[in-house]
């Protein structure tokens, strides 16, 4: 879900800016686009702020089953 949001959010932002800069949309729509754009900028910024790196390591137990475990490096 994060993938859909972030990457698509950036793509939509690009779209919105281009539409607004063309300047031929009616005023109502332009205002709506502006709102949408500002909200997206905020959302993406938040996603970046909140992001915490998750690292896991795949380990096989005695039965050969592989599980994902939290990874702690030795530093």
């Amino acid at each position: 879900m994060e993938k859909m949001t972030f990457e698509k959010a950036l793509a939509r932002l690009d779209e919105i800016v281009k539409l607004l800069e063309r300047g031929d949309a009616p005023l109502d729509d332009s205002l709506k686009l502006f709102e949408e754009g500002t909200a997206l900028v905020k959302k993406c910024g938040l996603a970046l702020d909140k992001a915490e790196q998750k690292v896991t390591i795949l380990t096989a137990n005695e039965n050969g089953e592989v599980t994902e475990e939290q990874f702690t490096s030795e530093e």
Partner: protein, 398 residues
């Protein structure tokens, strides 16, 4: 007999120089204490587990070499042994030297590179693009060591949004190729990531050899998930680097290539915000200007004048209409009177009033001449007022 030091040394030197084996010998050893002198001569020692011998290669012979000598390099040196009487040490005077073992590896590398290249494993058309915003990154490498630490650190700094999944594998030794292959296959089979990084930190060509392995090359080629190879230092090139969808000079470089830089993203967001505001502001000001322009037209500003103008026009037009209508009416009535007068003059009744009468016979036909009248015939005479039934007495032609 007591010998001088010089005599002893000379004696030993002669012994050595006369020996056929020592005059033309191949020696296998490892270079240590290597020094390239400014004179162009190369001084070093050759050693193995149990011993060491001093050696020198003079500039003339060394200039023909295609590779650079360095400490730790395993070599086969050819030359002669002799005694340097000044310090009583014997050394190997090298006239030719080649890498040992490593030489074999180089040959293997070139041969494999040629074969895999012909099979199309390095084909640029087959290479897949690296996703710009990966959500998950798979790393097949040793879980210990500087390489993984550096990669994790850089990934965290640049793009913590991406989750990292490590498939631990040995990266040197005989078991390494298998483990690396299994790692790539596992990540592919369970679709655990959007991009794979595989590699290791710097080392000798033997250390890096797993990434020249044919099996690893095929695994990278067949991977449906894009693979970034990250082997050794910048000048180290392995077969994996040729097959991979993207080659990174080092593991750290791989981390940089795999993800966008968060600070760049923030800058992009910030500039996008500015562009939004600018675009809207300019739009608003254009609309405002349009409104101002329209509202400045006379009709809106002074409606009274506008109405007065229109009323003026109306009155004027009304006047013209009335005048024209009156003229038309007058013209028509004049004409009417004219026609009426004419009609009146031509009216037979008028003629009668002047004393004329209308004569018709008993069939009602008008009598205009006496020629057809017979005496005693009945005729009808109509006067201006009234009429009389008559009988003809006599006719006369005129």
């Amino acid at each position: 007999m007591i010998l001088s030091v010089t005599m002893l040394n000379e004696y030993i030197k002669r012994l050595i120089d006369d020996d056929m084996l020592l005059a033309d010998v191949f020696v296998r050893g490892e270079i240590s204490n290597y020094k390239a002198h400014s004179s162009g001569h190369h001084y070093m020692s050759l050693k193995d587990e149990n011993g060491v011998i001093r050696a020198v290669m003079f500039r003339g012979s060394a200039s023909k070499l295609k590779f650079r000598m360095e400490n730790g390099m395993k070599v086969i040196a050819h030359g002669r042994v002799s005694l340097f009487t000044r310090d009583g040490s014997y050394q190997l005077y090298i006239d030719d030297i080649t890498p040992d073992g490593v030489g074999a590896l180089y040959v293997a590398f070139e041969q494999l590179k040629k074969m895999l290249g012909e099979q199309g494993l390095f084909d640029p058309a087959h290479k897949k693009p690296i996703p710009r915003f990966p959500t998950r990154i798979g790393i097949v490498t040793s879980p210990t060591g500087a390489a993984i630490r550096d990669m994790l650190r850089i990934l965290k700094h640049r793009y913590p949004l991406a989750k990292v999944i490590i498939y631990p594998a040995r990266v040197q030794g005989d078991e390494a190729p298998d483990e690396i292959v299994r790692g790539i296959a596992f990540l592919n089979h369970f679709r655990l990531c959007d991009v794979i990084i595989t590699g290791r930190g710097g080392g000798s060509i033997e250390d890096l050899w797993a990434f020249n392995d044919e099996r690893v090359a095929y695994a990278i080629y067949q991977s449906e998930i894009p693979v970034i190879s990250a082997v050794g230092h910048e000048p180290d090139v392995t077969i994996s680097d040729f097959v991979a969808d993207l080659r990174a000079a080092t593991p750290s470089n791989a981390a940089e290539l795999a993800v966008p830089d968060m600070s760049e993203l923030r800058a992009f967001l910030s500039s996008t915000n500015s562009r939004l505001i600018t675009a809207l502001t300019s739009l608003l000001s254009i609309k405002r200007e349009t409104l101002r322009h329209l509202s400045s037209c006379r009709a809106l500003r002074s409606p009274r004048f506008y109405v007065d103008d229109k009323r003026m026009l109306f009155e004027h037009t009304k006047q013209r209409f009335i005048t024209a209508a009156n003229n038309e009416i007058r013209r028509n009535s004049e004409k009417f009177l004219q026609l009426t007068a004419k009609l009146d003059a031509l009216s037979p009744l008028k003629v009668l009033s002047r004393g004329f009468s209308v004569v018709s016979d008993d069939s009602g036909a008008l009598v205009t001449s006496s020629a057809n009248l017979l005496p005693g015939q009945r005729i009808s005479v109509r006067f201006s007022s009234g009429s009389a039934q008559c009988s003809v007495i006599d006719t006369k032609d005129s």
